[in-house]
Symmetry: C2
Subunit: 257 residues, 2 copies
């Protein structure tokens, strides 16, 4: 199978280098930023393109650009009469965005949080595949299988709900860590002290539901501590709002014993 | 050193049995519930008291009761003219609560999540010690040293900020997991799918700050996705409010590139 790529950001880079390591041929890399395209192309023995119209037909064209750009790229491909299989890699973009342009449409979405400097545990990364044609779905299956054994065929609505859930479970929990770190910093308290607690809270998900694992002053309806904490946050109205809203929601979720 | 204890709950039980195992003498155990006091006293060769006024002077009196009860107990001790060193074991109670009653005041706080049925890894449990008199702090130091080598001298404000940070880092992140699980349930999507992401997000804290690790639509200022998600949450106004508030805060924290 040979593949071309549109995009040279985090997702494109991690996917391309992982596929390259599996001896999958990467043919072309196009990015609006030619420097980025060249930087990635060098890593995976591919050719960097300056113009999207230079793309020749690959067996699969992966679109790994920002969500907002997917529709733009799809329109450009339609204008070029691109006839190969085109799959975007987004958790939060409907298959329809490609279908609307009458492309041979698919989705190749790895559920992962990609940073430039962190290695990816591909084997444990779930892939969500979708395609209009059964043969195209099979082709995406084959490719995903080279990286992971955890392959799912979910429709766009399910995939979008998964992405929404991931925003809560990963992005928002990370932002809660961020506030915690800032609070400790401001009081000259060693930030490493909360790491075991963070890890333990995450690990508990393996055995019980988050609802069962919930602890803390809001869970206990301990209004004295909640009020003390809100007072401690009075110089940070934004954190105070977050504390109040989340505590209210937790109290609502866990009726008083 | 001989010690007496007020309280017979989870913290009191774990502390008393651990100290007893280190050949520290436990003299008296008082609890409002005499059955609980007797149950604990038996385990540590101590005498259970029916009335707090029966307490004789120990070298150290540990108060391991609920946060709200600490002030009540302090008032009772003051009324008895108790003159020994009195330390509470709470992360979220100021030293002043004891000082106000003119007690020889201290804090002996182990940062741990105590369950009745889980053994405690004392060696890796950080202890936070505080006392008005240097000699008292030294005495608390000696005692904590029998259980752990991770001893911190933080003042009440620092200790309270650690507890506040833990609410964000553990309780609130867990509630974000809870919302995520509910979203997946509603769309018949396998809930196990987000566990690797949750674990990885937590593990990343070991190498980078949460600020550096932040990803997601709000981090990218991707308003299309944010609006799509808010629309998907329209039947859950509480989750919608949380999504909007946290996304706004993340955008604010990470200025547009």
């Amino acid at each position: 199978m040979n593949i071309s790529l549109i995009g040279a950001g985090r997702v494109a880079t991690h996917l391309a280098t992982a596929l390259h390591a599996q001896n999958i041929q990467i043919q072309h890399v196009f990015s609006r930023n030619i420097d980025h395209a060249q930087h990635l192309a060098q890593q995976v023995d591919a050719i960097a393109l300056e113009n999207i119209s230079q793309l020749t037909q690959a067996e699969l064209l992966l679109i790994a650009v920002s969500d907002a750009q997917i529709a733009v790229v799809a329109k450009q491909l339609a204008g070029m009469n691109y006839t190969g299989l085109v799959a975007h890699t987004s958790g939060s973009t409907h298959l329809q965005v490609l279908q609307m342009e009458n492309l041979r449409s698919g989705v190749f979405y790895p559920l992962q949080s990609f940073s430039f400097d962190q290695p990816i545990d591909w084997e444990n990364t779930p892939f969500f595949l979708e395609a209009v044609q059964p043969a195209d779905l099979e082709q995406l299956d084959q490719l995903a299988n080279t990286l992971s054994k955890r392959i799912y065929h979910y429709d766009s609505e399910q995939r979008l709900s998964l992405h929404l859930a991931a925003v809560f479970a990963s992005n928002f929990s990370n932002y809660c860590y961020d506030i915690a770190e800032q609070i400790l910093q401001q009081h000259q308290v060693d930030q490493h002290l909360i790491f075991p607690l963070i890890l333990q809270t995450a690990q508990k998900m393996q055995t019980n539901s988050a609802q069962q694992n919930q602890t803390g002053p809001a869970r206990r309806h301990d209004q004295n501590i909640i009020d003390l904490h809100l007072d401690m946050l009075k110089l940070h109205p934004e954190w105070q709002d977050i504390y109040a809203l989340l505590s209210h929601a937790i109290k609502h979720r866990h009726a008083k014993a």
